[in-house]
């Protein structure tokens, strides 16, 4: 169900995300003060290559990590196996990557004319 490649991908994506998650939590605690607005979010992120790389790598890592996590839970708790399990893993990965990439693009470069 988990071969060495998937196991390593799970651990490597976790190692990549650990500092990114700490950064994300710090930004949330800072940004939530006084409430959130669209303008406030965009003023921080729009046109920023740094935020694009930060959240872009976060999205890629979380798509890998969550897909493998859902794979393990589906196998152990629901009994999904074989092709269905592989299909589900790829679906979660592709879905999160697609939605996440759209979100990152929207808050960084979509309104910046890129």
């Amino acid at each position: 169900m988990l071969n060495i490649h998937l196991y390593m991908a799970q651990r490597l994506s976790a190692l990549i995300m650990a500092p990114l998650t700490i950064g994300h939590i710090a930004v949330m605690i800072y940004a939530v003060q006084g409430g959130l607005t669209v303008d406030e979010i965009l003023s921080r992120t729009q046109g920023s290559l740094s935020w694009f790389l930060f959240y872009g790598s976060f999205v890629l890592a979380v798509a890998v990590h969550a897909a493998i996590g859902v794979r393990v839970i589906s196998f152990e708790w629901v009994g999904v196996k074989g092709r269905a399990l592989n299909g589900l893993t790829w679906l979660v990965f592709a879905g999160l990557l697609w939605l996440g990439a759209r979100a990152v693009y929207a808050v960084t470069f979509a309104g910046a004319g890129v």
Binding site: T21, I73, L96, A106
Partner: protein
């Protein structure tokens, strides 16, 4: 009857890690979808963000940050156990993971209200 290993504190650490991960995986598509409206549908996103000003939603956000911090610290504990050459103090680390997650989520909550 509860099986013996399911009364062990580290089994709860495993369960919390798994359930927090599952919760985050379910939340992420919604989170991403909302953010993707920032430029195409800013008014709608603005309305959703104003919705987050409600006290009950603040409490739900506290829960989400708690899940994130719990999964982060639980994951760090897991990798420390797998990678570093130690095997004692596991219960202490598991307890610290929950305490740390609660602290982080409380910081968020206090700033949010």
């Amino acid at each position: 009857m509860i099986r013996p290993h399911r009364t062990h504190p580290l089994w709860f650490a495993f369960l919390l890690h798994r359930l927090s991960g599952l919760g985050l995986a379910l939340f992420l598509p919604v989170h991403f979808f909302m953010l993707s409206m920032a430029v195409s549908q800013p008014d709608q996103l603005g309305r959703l963000l104003r919705f987050t000003d409600l006290p009950l939603v603040k409490v739900a956000e506290f829960g989400l940050v708690f899940l994130l911090a719990l999964h982060l610290f639980g994951g760090l504990r897991l990798m420390a156990l797998e990678i570093l050459p130690w095997n004692s103090r596991q219960k202490t680390l598991a307890g610290l993971a929950v305490a740390g997650a609660f602290f982080v989520a409380t910081c968020f909550f206090l700033k949010a209200i």
